[in-house]
Symmetry: C2
Subunit: 333 residues, 2 copies
Amino acid sequence: MTSIKDIARLAGVSPSTVSRVLNEREYVRDEVRQRVLSIVKEKGYVQNNVARSMVLKRSFTIGVVIPHLFNMFQRQLFASMEFFLEQRGYKTQFFFIRWSEASEQAFLRRLKSETLDGIIFIHELYSPAVYQHIQERGLPVALCTFEKDQFDFPAVHIEEEASAALATEYLIQRGHRNIGLITGGHFSFGKQREEGYRQALKAHGIPCNPELMVRVPSYNPEAGRSGMITLLTRKLPMTAVFAATDELAIGAIKALYDSGIRVPEEVSVIGLDDIDISTFTTPALTTVRQPIFEMGKKSADLVCDWIARGHMQEKVELFSTTIVERESVRSLA
Amino acid sequence: MTSIKDIARLAGVSPSTVSRVLNEREYVRDEVRQRVLSIVKEKGYVQNNVARSMVLKRSFTIGVVIPHLFNMFQRQLFASMEFFLEQRGYKTQFFFIRWSEASEQAFLRRLKSETLDGIIFIHELYSPAVYQHIQERGLPVALCTFEKDQFDFPAVHIEEEASAALATEYLIQRGHRNIGLITGGHFSFGKQREEGYRQALKAHGIPCNPELMVRVPSYNPEAGRSGMITLLTRKLPMTAVFAATDELAIGAIKALYDSGIRVPEEVSVIGLDDIDISTFTTPALTTVRQPIFEMGKKSADLVCDWIARGHMQEKVELFSTTIVERESVRSLA
DNA sequence: ATAGCCTCTGAAAAGGTTTTCATCTAGAGA
DNA sequence: TCTCTAGATGAAAACCTTTTCAGAGGCTAT
């Protein structure tokens, strides 16, 4: 591999000068610049990033960490982030963390020895040790899809409770009173969305029946299906279900279909997220839209801006959500 | 940040000795080892990976590159790879390439300046320049989901044509004669699957009607939907459709549903891939299963083994596919 | 007793880049 | 003519490891 020294020798200048040319510094004669550049091109020379990182103490790499699962929502977010990160000249290093103390410990160890310039979290981690380390180190960070009050980090997310209330209210306004809930146990948004559901019921004077609520261990369609089956076996009157995520909703619709219950004629289903696939379920899923692409961009921007500026700035970036009317909810009126 | 020198000073030994302890080399007195280790622990010291990379000329990083799209199939493959890569002590750097000459050129530049230990491709790239560079450099590589005959690289994939023929034959055996095809233009597997479809028809003496075949520009549900609509507007007799991927099939089912055509009563649909979501479509998608998880693992193994061994070994790893019978195909008999 | 070997340890070089500091040259102003 | 300044360049240090080489000390076998 050709190094900067080789180029320097060939161009009859010092490595310093070559470095200056490469990094577009001033104080290089135009003639010299041209000569160096032409030799760089001729030799197909490219800078050695490891050596650069070493002296610059920067890696031009942003870590994106996804804990616990890697579902469709996270994929869309991740794709969006990678897109904008690359636009701003950063590489994306992917961290996938299993939901266990041990896995998070291992991640912390990796993190410490890594020279990341910044880090983005999609959904929160279990233990605060990682956040603590990041804060002590002053590593630029963005929290996407959650907020960690105990730490002063910029965060990108939606108003979880309000969004869940929006979905529930949508059902109430269409005459539904016996509304089931399927949500997950992990992650704060699962509880927040449950809370939004409760609030909406309360606001309309509808008693909250614990028998109509079910918590499943994950957020994938399989969990949604099992949640729906649980709900069905209780044989309560129920004309609609709010599934805390679209993936749960997809599973719920499947369970209803398998039980011969028509959606939305007999039971309406509403989700929350608006992932790509939700347009393509049968019936198409009525849901609450999170601006996933924009949220990915914002997360990338927050970290990159922090790095560029040298210090943190914005604290919380709230995105608003909207109902997307499709086919899975029926009006009882 | 504490460095190896600080540890050395504190332990009253030389950096060499600390390095030996850290890397579990022999020739260190046990007493010294203990002393160093305790100071390492006390100071929370971790090795600087950039410096290590520099001298070792290894980065412990494998690049995973996904060209053009980032669909559900690729996501599952990617998740599998990351899982096994991490198990073997490698970090995963993610590269997403848009389908353009410029984007591939940019990737090549990035690749050259990177100190990757190996690289995995999911689906093929357009230009051979990247493969050429990798071959010249002797970089360990695995091609997942395709094979590039002109280069001598290990590859992990299924028998595309045979798998497509399997799907088509499944329809033929159930009495279907007017079978539509929806496939994509990009990527070799699109054409190979089309070829498998042709072969199966031919093997059963069924004439191949170009009017029943449609090529769409992508492999997502939206493309599948538009493909199905095209097919429907031709108003030909058609009792079944083979969609070259599950995502296309999902879109096709949606288009049928929207047109009031029942699946599978009026038109049967079969896909190929067996992605997670295919269990949850309504009706559940009958498809041909690729062992995605195993293929991800094998790809990771191929690269890691190559690195460990120092030279390439296996050439092609063929995985076999099987029909997964669900609900979207009806027997005409 | 001595040669030879083995274990343990440290000094120093190497890896490729950036940056600071010093030096040199040329031109401007007095 | 001399001094000053600004532009252009190079030498060398620094970044943090690992590894080679050499040397010291102790033990064994002759």
